[in-house]
C-alpha cells in the first residue's frame, strides 16, 4: 500500500509536469483527473488544493473548470447552431465524455482564430491501480499528439487502440462542437 502511494505520487507529479500548461488556464483539469485516486495530485498540481479531499477536488474542479472557460459552449445544440459558424471561432470547448473500457474520457480544447492551440484531458478513468498505469502512460502522449494531429487536419485515425480511439474521438467531438 505504501509503495503504491509512493508510486502514485511520482506518477502523478510526472503527469503534472507533462500537463505543465494546465495551471495557467484550467486547474480544474488536474483536480478532476485526480478524483478518487489521491489528494496527492492536488498537492502536486495546484497551489491552493493542499488539503483538499477527493470531494472538494471534484467540486472545485468542475466549478473552476466552467468558470475558466471564456465562451463555454459545451451544450448539445452547439452543433445545430453550426451552420452559421465561422472558421475564426475562439474559445474553450469541451467534448462529450466518451465511455471506454477503462471509464469515461473527456477532452477540452482551446481554439484561437479557428486553430486548436491546446487540448486538455479533463476526465480520465482513475478508478484503480491498473487504470492509473494505463493512463499515466497513454494520456500525456496523446494529449500532446492531439494538437499535432489536429494541426495536420486529421478526420479519422486508422490503427488506433481502445483508449486512443476514444480519446481522439472525444477530441473530434469537441472539434465538431467548435465548428471549425
Amino acid at each position: 500500500m505504501r509503495r503504491i502511494t509512493t508510486w502514485l505520487l511520482s506518477t502523478l507529479s510526472a503527469l503534472v509536469l507533462l500537463f505543465s500548461y494546465h495551471t495557467s488556464t484550467n486547474s480544474g483539469s488536474a483536480t478532476a483527473v485526480a478524483t478518487g485516486s489521491a489528494d496527492a495530485a492536488a498537492n502536486g498540481s495546484t497551489d491552493s488544493g493542499s488539503s483538499g479531499s477527493a470531494d472538494s477536488g471534484t467540486d472545485s474542479g468542475t466549478d473552476s473548470g466552467s468558470a475558466a472557460t471564456p465562451t463555454p459552449t459545451p451544450s448539445a445544440d452547439a452543433g445545430s447552431g453550426g451552420s452559421s459558424g465561422s472558421s475564426s471561432s475562439s474559445g474553450t470547448f469541451t467534448g462529450d465524455a466518451v465511455q471506454t473500457r477503462y471509464g469515461p474520457v473527456q477532452v477540452e480544447i482551446t481554439v484561437k482564430n479557428g486553430k486548436i492551440t491546446k487540448s486538455v484531458v479533463t476526465q480520465v478513468p482513475w478508478n484503480d491501480h491498473k487504470d492509473q498505469e494505463i493512463n499515466s502512460y497513454a494520456v500525456p502522449i496523446l494529449n500532446d499528439e492531439a494538437v499535432q494531429a489536429q494541426s495536420a487536419g486529421i478526420d479519422m485515425v486508422s490503427g488506433a487502440t481502445f483508449t486512443s480511439d476514444a480519446y481522439i474521438q472525444s477530441l473530434q467531438s469537441a472539434i465538431d462542437q467548435a465548428n471549425l
Partner: protein, 259 residues
Amino acid sequence: MITAEIPVTPAAPPPPVLARRAWVEHVMGTAVSVHVRAVEPTRPDLEAAVARVFAHLHKVDAVLSTWRADSDLLRLQHRETEDVHAWVADVTELALEAEERTDGLFRAWRSRAGGRPVFDPTGLVKGWAVAGAAAHLEVVPEVAFSIGAGGDVVVGAGRGPTAAAPTWRIGLEDLTTPGRVADVVSVRRGAVATSGAAARGGHVVDPRTGRPVVRPGSTTVIGPDLLWADVWATAAWVDPERVAALLPERDPGYRLVVL
C-alpha cells in the same frame, strides 16, 4: 413598349457549407465512431440512418461474436443449436474466399492442440460488418460520412451529387508511438484498414507457423471495400513482401502501405 425581365443569375451558387457531427458507440469490443458532413446534420433521416448503422453492428455482434457465449456462432460451435442467422454461412464463405485469395496468409481457422481447428472469423467480421453498416448511410441523400471502428475506417457519400463529396483525411497511426500519426491518406470514397502488433498485442497469428506475428510497425491497405482492405492488411502483416507482390495481380484496386 416591351419590357423584358432579364433573369438575374448569381455568378455561381456558393458551395454548401457542410457542418459536421459525430456519434460514438461501443460495440464489437471497440469504439465505433460515425462522422457525417451535411448541410444540416441534425436531420431526422440522418439520425435514423446512424441509428441503423449501430443497430447493424450490434446485430452482427449478437450473431458472430466469439466473446459472447450466446452468439449464434458460439452456440453453433457448442452444439447448442443449428438454427443460426444466415450471416454465419456468409462469413464462413467469405473466410474461405479470403484464405484462397491471400494464398493462405489470411486464415480464419485456428489450430487447437489435439482437436479440430476452431473457426474464428474475428479478423474478417469487423471489416465486413462496418462495410455492411455503411450501406445504411449510402442511401441517405446529401451526406458524406466516415466510420471508424477500432482502426478500420470506411469513407463514403450518400445519394446526390458526388462531385461535392468532401475528402476525409485519414491519419495512419504510428503504432510504435501511440497517438502519433505517421502518414495521412485522403479518401473521398473507400476504406482504410491497418494491422499491427500494438493495437491489441500480438493477436495476428501467422497461419504458416501458428505463432503470433511480433515485430514493430504496421501494414495498411487502402481500397474500395473495407472487408478486403481488412483481409489484405492482416495478410500483409503476416508477410509484407509476399502481399506487395500478390496484391497488384489479385486485387489491383487496393494499395499497400508498410510502416
